[in-house]
C-alpha cells in the first residue's frame, strides 16, 4: 500500500461558512435558550395559576394578534427575497425588499403600540401606581377604590367654590359608588364570618369592570378568588355562543366603561400575573423587533449588492428568529 492513499488529516480552522454567520448562529442559539426560558416560565405560571383571565377580560384582540402574525410572515418573505436579490447583485431590488421589510416591521410595532396603549388606558399595566389590577375583591381592593373616589372628589372640590354642572353629575356618581363601597365594607366588618361582605365586594368589582367570559368566572370561583354565589348571577347574563359576551351589552357596561374619567381599580382574578407575563414576553419580543428595525434602517443607506449578501443573510437570519418567536407567542398568549 502506498502512502498516497492514506487519509490526509488536517485541522479545519473554521466552519465552512463566513465568520459573521458563525457568530450570528451562536448568538441565535443563546437566543433560543433565552426565549425558551421565558416561554417555559410563562407556561409554568399560566397553568399553575389559581385563576387566569380570558383574553377579552384583559382586552386582548385575537384578530389583531393574527394580523400581526401575518405581517411578520410577510416580512420574513420580503427579507429572504431581498437576500436572493443581493446574491444576484440586484442592489436596488434588494434594497426595495429591505425597505418593505422595514415598513412591515413598523406596522407590527404600530399594532403592538396600539394594543399596549389600549390596555394602559384601562389600567391594565404590570406595576403600580399605573396598574390598577387586583386579584380579588377584598378589603385592599375596596380601599383602593375608596382612595380613588376620594381623590376624584378632592379634585372636583379643589377646582373652585362654584361646581360646574358636569362636575355635579360626577359628584353624584362618585357618591353612588362610595355608598356601595360603604355598604360592602360594613358587611365585611359586621359579619366577618359570613360570605355576604365578600359577595358584595365582588359584585361591586364586577359593576366597575364586568367579566367578559363565563368560563373565567367559574374558574375564579373554583379557585376561591370570588364567592360561588357570583357564578350563578353572572351565568344568567351569559348569551349563546357567537353573540356578545357578558360585558358587551349596554345594561352590563361597567362604571369604568360608562364613565371613562372614573378609572377605578379593577378586579381580574389572575390579572396581575397575566400582565407581568404578557408584557414581559411581548416586551422582549418588541425589543428584538426594534433592534431589527434599527439594522434594517441602517442597511437602507448602503448598497446591497453581492458583496453585502452576507450582511443581508445574517440580518435576515436574525429577523426570521424574531418571526419564529412570535409564531409561538401568538397562540400561547392570544388563543390558549
Amino acid at each position: 500500500m502506498s502512502d498516497t492513499h492514506a487519509p490526509k488529516l488536517s485541522y479545519q480552522p473554521a466552519l465552512p461558512i463566513p465568520n459573521g454567520k458563525t457568530c450570528l448562529w451562536l448568538f441565535l442559539s443563546t437566543e433560543i435558550l433565552f426565549f425558551a426560558g421565558l416561554i417555559g416560565t410563562y407556561i409554568v405560571l399560566r397553568f399553575g395559576a389559581v385563576a387566569w383571565p380570558a383574553p377579552h377580560d384583559v382586552l386582548l384582540s385575537e384578530p389583531l394578534g393574527a394580523f400581526n402574525t401575518f405581517v411578520l410572515i410577510c416580512s420574513s418573505v420580503t427579507v429572504v427575497l431581498g437576500f436572493e436579490a443581493a446574491k444576484l447583485n440586484q442592489a436596488s431590488k434588494a434594497k426595495g425588499y429591505i425597505l418593505l421589510t422595514f415598513l412591515l416591521g413598523c406596522v407590527f410595532l404600530g399594532v403592538k403600540m396600539f394594543e399596549y396603549s389600549h390596555k394602559f388606558e384601562h389600567g391594565i399595566y404590570p406595576v403600580k401606581p399605573h396598574g390598577m389590577l387586583y386579584d380579588k375583591a377584598d378589603i385592599y381592593y375596596s380601599g383602593a377604590v375608596r382612595k380613588r373616589l376620594n381623590d376624584l372628589r378632592t379634585q372636583i372640590t379643589l377646582a373652585g367654590p362654584e361646581i360646574s354642572k358636569e362636575n355635579k353629575v360626577r359628584l353624584e356618581i362618585i357618591d353612588q359608588v362610595t355608598r356601595k363601597v360603604d355598604e360592602a365594607e360594613t358587611a365585611v366588618r359586621n359579619q366577618p364570618d359570613s360570605p355576604d361582605g365578600i359577595i358584595k365586594l365582588t359584585e361591586l368589582a364586577y359593576e366597575i369592570y364586568p367579566p367578559h367570559d363565563q368560563g373565567t368566572v367559574i374558574q375564579a370561583a373554583e379557585a376561591g378568588a370570588i364567592p360561588p354565589a357570583i357564578v350563578v348571577k353572572y351565568a344568567a347574563l351569559e348569551r349563546p355562543a357567537g353573540e356578545q359576551a357578558i360585558g358587551g351589552g349596554e345594561e352590563h357596561e361597567g362604571y369604568n366603561e360608562k364613565y371613562s374619567w372614573l378609572r377605578l381599580p379593577i378586579m381580574i382574578p389572575g390579572g396581575p400575573m397575566w400582565a407581568s407575563t404578557y408584557f414581559l414576553l411581548t416586551g422582549f419580543h418588541a425589543v428584538h423587533v426594534i433592534v431589527g428595525l434599527i439594522v434594517f434602517g441602517l442597511m437602507l443607506f448602503t448598497t446591497l449588492d453581492r458583496s453585502r449578501a452576507n450582511l443581508v443573510e445574517n440580518v435576515g437570519l436574525y429577523w426570521h428568529f424574531v418571526d419564529l418567536v412570535w409564531i409561538f407567542l401568538f397562540p400561547l398568549l392570544y388563543l390558549f
Partner: protein, 151 residues
C-alpha cells in the same frame, strides 16, 4: 488568511448551488405559513370552541406552531441546504431548551389537575386567605348554573 478566504468561498458556493426552484419555493412556504396561521386562528371562533375540546385545540395549535417553525428554519433560514455544521449549533441549543422545559414540567404537573381546585393541596393549606367554600355549595351553584344554561 488564504484558508479563511477559501472557506468563505465554500460558504458562497454552497449558496449558489442551493437554488432549488428559485423564489417560487419561498412563496409556496409563505402560502403554507398563511394557511397554517389560519388553522390556529380557527380555534378563536365560537363555532370551533363549541365543538372541539380546548385540550385538542391547544395540541393542534402547538403542532401548527412547530410546523411553522420548521418551515421557517428549513427554508427561510436555509438550514435545509446547509452543510453538517448546522447540527453543531442547533442541536445543543434545542436539547438545552427541551431540557429546560422538562425541568419545569414537574412544577406544572404538581400544580394542575390536582383534584377539584386544580392546584396543589399545599396552596390550599398555605393560602393567605383560605376560601370558605363548602364543596356542597359549589355543587349547588354548578347545578343551578347548568339549569339556567339549559333554559
Amino acid at each position: 488568511m488564504s484558508d479563511r478566504d477559501q472557506h468563505t468561498e465554500v460558504g458562497h458556493d454552497s449558496h449558489d448551488h442551493a437554488d432549488h426552484g428559485g423564489n417560487g419555493k419561498y412563496l409556496l412556504v409563505f402560502a403554507a405559513l398563511c394557511i397554517l396561521t389560519m388553522g390556529s386562528f380557527l380555534t378563536y371562533f365560537p363555532f370551533w370552541r363549541a365543538h372541539v375540546p380546548y385540550q385538542a385545540s391547544r395540541a393542534l395549535m402547538m403542532a401548527i406552531s412547530c410546523t411553522k417553525a420548521m418551515l421557517v428554519i428549513m427554508f427561510f433560514m436555509h438550514l435545509m441546504w446547509e452543510a453538517n455544521w448546522k447540527w453543531v449549533l442547533t442541536i445543543p441549543a434545542t436539547f438545552m431548551s427541551v431540557f429546560l422545559m422538562l425541568m419545569l414540567v414537574p412544577d406544572v404537573g404538581w400544580r394542575i389537575n390536582n383534584g377539584y381546585a386544580r392546584y396543589s393541596e399545599e396552596r390550599w393549606v398555605y393560602a393567605a386567605d383560605p376560601p370558605k367554600v363548602e364543596a356542597s355549595d359549589m355543587k349547588a351553584a354548578e347545578k343551578d348554573l347548568l339549569r339556567k344554561g339549559a333554559n
